[in-house]
């Protein structure tokens, strides 16, 4: 066991809890970006360099941006006042459900004979990854590409809504 790993885990879980419990939506998003970075740090620690950078690039660079954008666009919501009793009871039940899930998971993990295989992390170069992606996983890669395209178009259509405003001002 590694002090670094424990530190990463603590920071990640801590920021995640703070993000989920925070009152300020924007702080939550930023804290969550930090949690995502923590996950990336874990990847880095485990030796999955490429995955770590991809995680930062996608989550911190793109997803948090989009989320922030959504936060700004929906800023003028008439809500998020003080949580009423319904909200509190829901929060309580949520925490209980999550605790139950956590308990089950931890129990299952601790009961399972999971001996870590000793030895160093499997070394994987970017070149290897590329070969794998273009070889055995080519179909999946294509599918993901199609999925992303479709999602992009769908998101644009959804977010654009029915545009009845004035036509775009041409330069």
């Amino acid at each position: 066991m590694n002090a670094v790993l424990i530190l990463i885990a603590l920071v990640t879980v801590g920021t995640a809890i703070a993000a989920m419990a925070g009152r300020n939506l924007l702080h939550s998003v930023l804290l969550l970006a930090l949690a995502w970075t923590g996950v990336a740090a874990f990847y880095l620690w485990a030796g999955a360099e490429f995955a770590a950078f991809a995680q930062v690039l996608v989550y911190v660079g793109a997803i948090s941006m989009v989320v922030l954008f959504a936060v700004l666009l929906t800023r003028r919501s008439r809500d998020e006042a003080a949580p009423g009793p319904a909200g509190q009871s829901r929060a309580l039940s949520a925490v209980m459900a999550a605790a139950a899930v956590a308990g089950v998971l931890v129990g299952a993990i601790l009961r399972s004979p999971l001996a870590a295989s000793p030895g160093p992390a499997p070394a994987v170069t970017v070149r290897q990854l590329g070969a794998e992606l273009m070889g055995p996983y080519a179909a999946a890669l294509l599918a993901v590409g199609v999925l992303l395209t479709v999602a992009l178009i769908g998101a644009v259509v959804l977010a654009a809504g029915d545009r009845t405003g004035q036509p775009e001002d041409n330069p």
Partner: protein, 103 residues
């Protein structure tokens, strides 16, 4: 406790935190973020097993994580677009109020 178990517990706790967030918060964006957190926890498992698990193809875990990240990106994009659409229709993104498919 072996390192693998520690990693898995880490991931399990992270998952539960995400779940708690998704269940407790009423803001649709935060619910979405909770779900993101849960997905991240799942990705963590991929890497943990890749690192410590029985030896398999050398790059499998990483590749799964990459695919998972890509799919998550798509999911977030669509999810947030939905949130914006709901906001446009209802002037609110409280999830309790979005109980109808029609806007």
């Amino acid at each position: 406790m072996s390192p693998l178990q520690f990693c898995l517990i880490f991931s399990g706790v992270l998952f539960s935190v995400g779940l708690a967030g998704a269940l407790a918060r009423s803001n649709a964006i935060l619910v979405l973020l909770g779900i993101e957190l849960m997905l991240n926890a799942a990705n963590l498992n991929f890497i943990a097993f890749w690192r410590y698990g029985p030896a398999s193809a050398p790059a499998t875990g990483v590749i799964f994580v990459i695919f998972s990240i890509a799919v998550t990106a798509a999911e977030t994009a669509v999810g947030l677009a939905l949130v914006i659409a709901i906001h446009r229709h209802q002037r609110s993104i409280r999830l309790q109020e979005a109980t109808r498919l029609k806007g």
